[in-house]
């Protein structure tokens, strides 16, 4: 059936599925990209680093519930069909994102603010848990059997393009409004804007037809009565769910989120790069690497899925630490000599009384421009104590702008990391679709995918930041989490997975 589908039809199917998935990823990513600003809005001003970690925990909560969304919506998808299920997930996702843009800050409603955002994040996570499996299954069930990797890889590009779109909207909004207004209220705009995209996507999806394989199964009265039971209570199927999780999706998840998310978080929080600079680097890296999703997806149709995915994991294991060490070394402006400085200009000293004390905090911000084109702000925060006199604190160098050659070097390093993402992620939809039979495919493939991506991958920023905050840790310590998980997945995948494909999925 799928072999006779006209070519323009399959691209309509891909376009409609991909647009919805792209918007869902956009909705999901703006939260992660704005974690620092949202943390300031949702938690008390004196929360410090725990505001970021707690915001990342709320962000992570959205990932944690994805497997439950996979179960709920996967079951619906196998019972009532692919089309209506992933229409519903789109509405839930878009509605939640819009509402996050309307939530009052901690100053207005106290701890109700983070709790409401947590609730909406959970709905987002559930919806995303149902979305991806539906889109991948829907496209795969329309695709010719020898081009399944190629066609489903278009779905795979949406996760990266969603991040690209979210970063673009954030950067443009911030540049139009200015940093202060953006931090105060402008961060809400990217959330509110998503409703327009969702309405367009719902309109397109309403016009889609049900998957031909599912329609055939339904017409023959062969749809599963209880997809959850058949997926997980059947040993032959459940063992494949576990194999897919530990041998592929677990490693793929950490490679993906390290390259796309932790890299940005690291550049911003550990290297203290300027907000725009860190995002421009990622935007360029994504723009150059995105076509490789389709290249590796298509290649996997010819050489098999296994070794492409596992090679991506291996390269990540070998190169993450050297890459992040370069990030640290090249942004270490504390070692510059006086000769490197082109100009330096200090802003007026700000003195603030420390609450419940007669001491005050004196802050001076000096903007330093270097001869090589780089610049940064040096923040000196000294305590003026009535009893002990001046207590100088360590200077903080932040808002760093890189010289052009280093900027492009960083783009290259991000490109390389996202290239690894395309290796592990490009072929995986086809890989998962081919593991499971049609009548329980949506349910069966969604669970390992979302545990691998949502739980192992989605927790990378949270766990890596947490590990790096332990006493005795270095800024690179957080990388042991993705490296360890990818190593385990690489070993299991190498030994247990087969490189052969089940070409016929019409069962």
């Amino acid at each position: 059936m799928s072999e006779t589908l006209p070519k323009n039809n399959i691209f309509k199917v891909i376009g409609a599925s991909s647009l919805g998935t792209l918007i869902e990823w956009y909705d999901f990513y703006i939260f992660g990209s704005l974690a620092v600003i949202i943390g300031h809005q949702l938690f008390p001003e004196d929360a410090g680093a725990s505001a970021l970690i707690n915001t990342l925990a709320i962000f992570a909560a959205g990932f944690i519930v994805r497997p439950f969304g996979a179960l709920v919506f996967g079951r619906l998808g196998d019972l009532i069909g692919r089309k209506y299920t992933f229409l519903l997930t789109l509405v839930l996702m878009g509605g939640s994102t819009f509402l996050i843009g309307l939530i009052p800050s901690y100053k207005t409603i106290g701890y109700a603010a983070p709790l409401l955002v947590l609730l909406l994040r959970l709905i987002q996570g559930l919806a995303l848990g149902g979305e991806y499996g539906g889109a991948a299954t829907y496209v795969a069930e329309h695709a010719p059997k020898n081009r399944r990797g190629f066609f489903t890889s278009w779905i795979q590009t949406t996760a990266t393009l969603g991040l690209f779109l979210s970063l673009g909207v954030i950067v443009i909004t911030k540049n139009i409004l200015g940093a202060e207004a953006f931090g105060d209220w402008g961060w809400r705009i990217p959330f509110l804007l998503s409703i327009v995209l969702v309405v367009v996507s719902i309109y397109i999806r309403m016009k889609m037809h049900e998957s031909p394989m599912f329609s055939k199964l339904k017409a023959e009265g062969n749809i599963s009565k209880n997809p959850l039971k058949e997926s997980f209570n059947n040993k032959a199927n459940f063992k494949m769910v576990l194999l897919a999780l530990f041998g592929a999706t677990m490693g793929q998840g950490v490679i993906w989120y390290t390259g796309q998310f932790y890299a940005q978080s690291f550049l911003e929080n550990s290297c203290k790069l300027d907000f725009n600079d860190s995002r421009y680097i990622l935007l360029w890296g994504i723009a150059f690497a995105t076509p490789f999703f389709v290249i590796f997806g298509s290649w996997s149709d010819r050489v098999g899925r296994k070794w492409i995915m596992l090679s991506g994991m291996l390269l990540g294991i070998l190169f993450y630490r050297p890459i992040y060490q370069i990030f640290l070394d090249d942004t270490d402006f504390s070692k510059i000599s006086q000769n490197d400085i082109l100009s330096s200009k200090s802003s007026p000293v700000i003195s603030v009384l420390i609450p419940n004390s007669s001491d005050s905090l004196r802050t001076t911000i000096t903007n330093v421009i270097l001869k090589n084109g780089a610049s940064f702000n040096k923040v000196q925060s000294d305590t003026v104590s009535v009893s002990k006199g001046l207590l100088p604190a360590k200077d903080i160098l932040k808002d760093k702008i890189l010289p052009t050659p280093i900027f492009w070097k960083f783009v290259g390093l991000i490109f390389f990391q996202i290239l690894l993402v395309t290796m592990v992620y490009g072929p995986i939809a086809a890989f998962l679709v081919e593991l499971f039979p049609t009548k329980i495919r949506y349910t069966s493939m969604s669970l390992p995918y979302h545990i691998g991506n949502g739980v192992f991958g989605g927790l990378v920023p949270f766990i890596a930041t947490l590990i790096a905050s332990f006493s005795g840790s270095t800024p690179l310590s957080g990388l042991w989490y993705p490296i360890g998980i990818a190593t385990l997945s690489l070993i299991i995948g190498t030994i247990y997975l087969s490189n052969k494909r089940d070409e016929s999925i019409n069962d």
């Binding site: 944690i64 494949m240 530990f246 545990i451």
Partner: protein, 79 residues
Amino acid sequence: MNTLKKYLGLVWMILGPLAMIFLFIQAVDKVGLTHTEIERTNTILQWAIILFIFTPISLGLMIFGFYGWKGEYAKLPES
């Protein structure tokens, strides 16, 4: 290769509970290091999330190991 799959099954069966013991020890250690009540609440919350998530996954790893040990992966459907 099938012998390797089988004996590595034992490793996964052992790795599951070992990972949980390690995480539990880490949780107790990190909560004990906190200085203020707010820090303690945050740390407990963070580690509760980690333990909640990884407990069923480690159980899954044990089941995977058991299947490996029993030779369930000696022949896959596509091979």
